[in-house]
Amino acid sequence: MSEAIQDKYFVPEAAKWPLVGSISLTILFCGFASYLNGSLLGPTMMVIGFILFVIMLFGWFGQVVNESEAGTYRKWEDMSFRMGMCWFIFSEVMFFAAFFGALYYAREFSVPWLLGDGDGLPTHNLLWPGYTEVWPTNGPDDLGGSDYHMGWWPLPFINTVILLTSGLTVTWAHHAIKVDNRKQFVYGLFLTVLLGFIFVFLQGYEYVYAYDQGMKLSSGIYGSTFFMLTGFHGLHVTLGAIILLVMLVRAMLGHFSGHRHFAFEAAAWYWHFVDVVWLGLFIFVYIL
C-alpha cells in the first residue's frame, strides 16, 4: 500500500519517436498520393518518408529493447505489451476479413447476379448478353483478356507445407528458449526465417507465372481478389519474416531468457497469424 504506484509501473518520460513516425507516414503517404496523381516529386517523397519510417522503427524499438534488457519492465508492463499485441493481431484479422468478405460477396452475389440471379428479371440479357462465365471470371467485359485459374497444385500446396513447417520450427524455438537452450533457439529461428523467405520467393515465382498466363491484377474480379488477398498476405509474411530476423539477430546477441522473451513470443504470434490467414487463402482462394 505504501509503495508508490510509479515504482510498480514504468511510465516513460518524453517520447520523441512518435513525432518522427507521424512526419514520416505523412511524407510517405503524401508522396504516394502525389505519385498516383502523376507528380514527379512523388517517388522521392516516398523514399524519404520510408527511410524516415525505418529510422523511427529502429529508434523506437531500439529504445524499448534497451529498456527491456536493462530490466525496466516487470510482469505488469509485460502484460500490457501482450494485450497490445493480441489486439493488434485482431485488428489485422479484421483487415483481411474485409478482403475475404469481398471474395465471398463477389462469388455469392455479384457474379450470379450478373448472370440473372437476384430478382430474376431478364435485364442481364440486355446489359451483358452472352455472359455465361462462372467462377473464376474476369467479368462480362473480359477484362485483361484472361482469367486463368490458379489451381492449388503444386506450388500453393508446397507453400502450405512450407508455412506449416515454419509454424513448427518457431514452436521448437519457443520450447528451446523456455529451457534456455540458446543453440536450438537460434537454429529454430533461423529455419523459420529461411522457410518464410522461401515462401515469399515461391509466391513471387507464382506471380510471374500468373502474369505469363495473362492473369493480372486487372483481370476482373478474380484477378482483383486473388492478387489483393495473396498480395497483402505476402506483405505480412515478409514483415513477419523480417520481425523474426530481428529476433534471430537479438537471439545471437544473447538477448532473451527462459522467463523473459516477450518480443520473440509476439513475433511468433504474428507468424501463427499469417499462417492461419494462409490456410484461409489456400481453402477459399485456391481450392474452392
Partner: protein
C-alpha cells in the same frame, strides 16, 4: 548500460511535473496532457466543421443557387461529416477516456504511454492531409462521407489524399482503442473488479472493441477504392464481375458499428452524471452493462438497413429490419434506467445535469425517428431525405455532442481546480437546446414532404422550414462560443473546487485533488 536507468526515471516521476515549453506537449506521455490535447483538437475541429455546416445552411436559406456552386456545396456536406465524425466526436471521446479512465480505475497512467502520444499526434497530420484536399485540382471529395463508388472515383487529385488520410485516422483510432482495452484489462487497482467499474469505463471498453473490429474494415474498403481507381482492380465495377453495392456492404459493416462508437461513450457519460446530480446510485447498473454489450453485438448484424433501397433480396430486407428494431430493446433499457435513477432523487440542475437530461430527451427523439427508418417499407419513402438528416443529427448533436459538453462541464473543475461560471454554463445549455431544436426539428417535416438531402437547391414549398433551420443553425453555432469562453475562464481562475467537486459524486476520480496532480495515485489505491 543505457540512458533509461530505472532509478533515475523514478526520481523524475516523483519530483517534478511536466517539463516546460512546447516540447512538453509534443513529446508528452502523460494521459492528462494527451487528454487535454485531444480535447482542444476536437474543439478546434468542432468550429471548423461547424463553419462548413453554416456554409451549407446559408446556401439552403433560399431555394435556387445563392452563395456557393453545387460542387463546392457537395464538398462541404462531405467534409462537414468527415470532420465532425473523425475530428470532433471520436477525438473528444478519446480525450475524455485519456483523462478519466486511468483515474477512474486507479491506474498510474494509460497502459502504453508512448503509443498514446502517437495516437494523438498522428491525428493533426491526418486532418491536415484531409483538409488540404479542398485546395486541390478538382476540389475536395464531394461524394458524401460514405464515399460510394463509382461517384467517389470521379474525385480529382483529392482522392488518394482522402484515402490515405482515412488510413492515418484509422491507425490513430486503432492505437487509441488498443491502449484503452489494455488499460482497462491490465491497469485496474486492486479490488476494482469488472462489475465495479464506472459505466463510462464499461462503455469505453466495449467501444474500444468495436473500434478495433471495424476500423480495419474501413481501411480495407478504401484500399479497394484506391486499387479500383489506380491499379485496375474491379471490386466495384460490374464490367469486371464486381459490384458497387459490394462497397456499400463493406462500408456499412464498418459504418454501423461506427455510429455506436459515436454514442456508447456518451451513454457512459450520462450514466455518470445523472446519478451524481440525483444523489442516488445508478438504477440497474448490471443491466446497463449488458444493454451496452447487446447494442455492440447487434451493431454488427444491422448494417444493410442503410441500403434498403439498393435492391436487396426480400429476405435480406426483412432480416435487417428486425435486427435493427431489436436494438430498441437494450436502448430502451438504458433510457428506462436513466429515468428511474432520477425518480425520487434529490435532484439539482447544474449545467452537466441539464445537458445530460437534454441528452436523454433529445437522443430519444432521434432514437424514435431511427425506429421509423428501420422499417423497410417506410424507409423506401424516407431514404435520402431530410428526415434521415434530422434523425442522425438528433442522435449526434443533442446526443453525442451534448454528452461531450456535459462531460466537459462535469469534469472541468477536476481538470482545472476551478469551478466554471454556472450562469454562463446554463445560458450555454438553454441557447444550445433551443437553437438545436429550431435547427433540426423542421428537417423532419421537409424530409417527410420529400426534400432530398445533399442537394444545394430545393422546391419552393420547402422554403419556410429551411429558413427556420438556418436561423437555428446560426444560433446554435454562435452559442458554442460560450463553451470556449467558459472553458478559458475556468482555466484562468474561479472559485476553488473541492476534491469531490459535486455533492453526490462517487468514484476514484473524485478522491484525488482538484486539479488532479500530474501523476495520480501514489500510493496505489485499493477499492473495497
Amino acid at each position: 548500460m543505457n540512458a533509461y536507468s530505472v532509478d533515475h526515471s523514478h526520481d523524475d516521476l516523483h519530483d517534478h511535473g511536466p517539463p516546460p515549453g512546447l516540447m512538453r506537449w509534443v513529446t508528452t506521455t502523460n494521459h492528462k496532457d494527451i487528454g487535454t490535447l485531444y480535447l482542444w483538437f476536437s474543439l478546434i475541429m468542432f468550429f471548423i466543421g461547424g463553419f462548413m455546416a453554416l456554409i451549407i445552411r446559408t446556401e439552403l436559406f433560399q431555394p435556387g443557387l445563392q452563395i456557393v456552386d453545387p460542387h463546392f456545396f457537395n464538398q462541404m456536406t462531405t467534409m462537414h461529416a468527415l470532420v465532425m465524425i473523425f475530428g470532433v466526436v471520436m477525438p473528444a471521446f478519446v480525450g475524455l477516456a485519456n483523462w478519466m479512465l486511468p483515474m477512474m480505475v486507479g491506474a498510474p497512467d494509460m497502459a502504453l504511454p508512448r503509443m498514446n502520444n502517437w495516437s494523438f499526434w498522428i491525428l493533426p497530420f491526418g486532418f491536415a492531409m484531409m483538409l488540404s484536399t479542398l485546395f486541390m485540382e478538382g476540389g475536395g471529395p464531394a461524394s458524401g462521407w460514405t464515399i460510394y463508388p463509382p461517384l467517389v472515383l470521379q474525385t480529382g487529385d483529392a482522392l488518394p489524399f482522402l484515402i490515405f488520410s482515412i488510413h492515418i485516422l484509422g491507425v490513430s483510432s486503432i492505437m487509441g482503442a488498443i491502449n484503452i482495452v489494455a488499460t482497462i484489462m491490465n491497469m485496474r487497482a486492486p479490488g476494482m473488479t469488472y462489475m465495479k467499474m464506472p459505466l463510462f469505463v464499461w462503455t469505453w471498453f466495449i467501444t474500444a472493441y468495436l473500434l478495433i473490429a471495424v476500423m480495419p474494415v474501413l481501411a480495407g474498403a478504401v484500399t479497394m477504392l484506391l486499387t479500383d481507381k489506380f491499379f485496375g482492380t474491379s471490386f466495384f465495377d460490374a464490367a469486371g464481375g464486381g459490384d458497387p453495392v459490394m462497397f456499400q456492404h463493406i462500408f456499412w459493416f464498418f459504418g454501423h458499428p461506427e455510429v455506436y462508437i459515436l454514442i456508447l461513450p456518451a451513454f457512459g457519460i450520462v450514466s455518470e452524471i445523472i446519478p451524481t446530480f440525483s444523489r442516488k446510485k445508478l438504477f440497474g447498473y448490471s443491466s446497463m452493462v449488458y444493454a451496452t454489450a447487446s447494442i455492440a453485438f447487434l451493431s454488427f448484424i444491422v448494417w444493410a438497413h442503410h441500403m434498403f433501397t439498393v435492391g436487396m433480396p426480400l429476405a435480406g430486407e426483412i432480416f435487417f429490419m428486425f435486427t435493427t428494431m431489436l436494438i430498441a430493446v437494450p436502448t430502451g433499457v438504458k433510457v428506462f434506467n436513466w429515468v428511474s435513477t432520477m425518480w425520487r432523487g434529490a435532484m439539482t440542475f447544474e449545467t452537466p445535469m441539464l445537458f445530460a437530461i437534454g441528452f436523454v430527451i433529445m437522443f430519444t427523439i432521434g432514437g424514435f425517428s431511427g425506429l421509423m427508418l428501420a422499417m423497410t417499407p417506410i424507409d423506401f419513402q424516407y431514404h435520402d431525405t431530410y428526415f434521415v438528416v434530422a434523425h442522425f443529427h438528433y442522435v449526434l448533436v443533442p446526443g453525442a455532442i451534448f454528452a461531450i459538453i456535459a462531460a466537459v462541464y462535469y469534469w472541468l473543475p477536476k481538470w482545472t481546480g476551478n469551478m466554471y461560471d454556472e450562469k454562463l454554463g446554463k445560458a450555454h445549455f438553454w441557447l444550445s437546446t433551443i437553437f438545436v431544436n429550431i435547427l433540426f426539428f423542421p428537417m423532419h417535416f421537409v424530409g417527410l414532404a420529400g426534400m432530398p438531402r445533399r442537394i444545394p437547391d430545393y422546391a419552393v414549398q420547402f422554403t419556410d422550414f429551411n429558413q427556420i433551420a438556418t436561423i437555428g443553425a446560426f444560433g446554435f453555432g454562435f452559442a458554442q462560443i460560450l463553451l470556449l469562453v467558459v472553458a478559458i475562464k475556468c482555466i484562468r481562475g474561479g472559485a476553488k473546487a473541492t476534491n469531490e467537486v459535486w455533492e453526490g459524486a462517487h468514484g476514484l476520480e473524485w478522491s484525488v485533488a482538484s486539479p488532479a496532480p500530474y501523476h495520480t495515485f501514489s500510493p496505489q489505491p485499493v477499492v473495497k
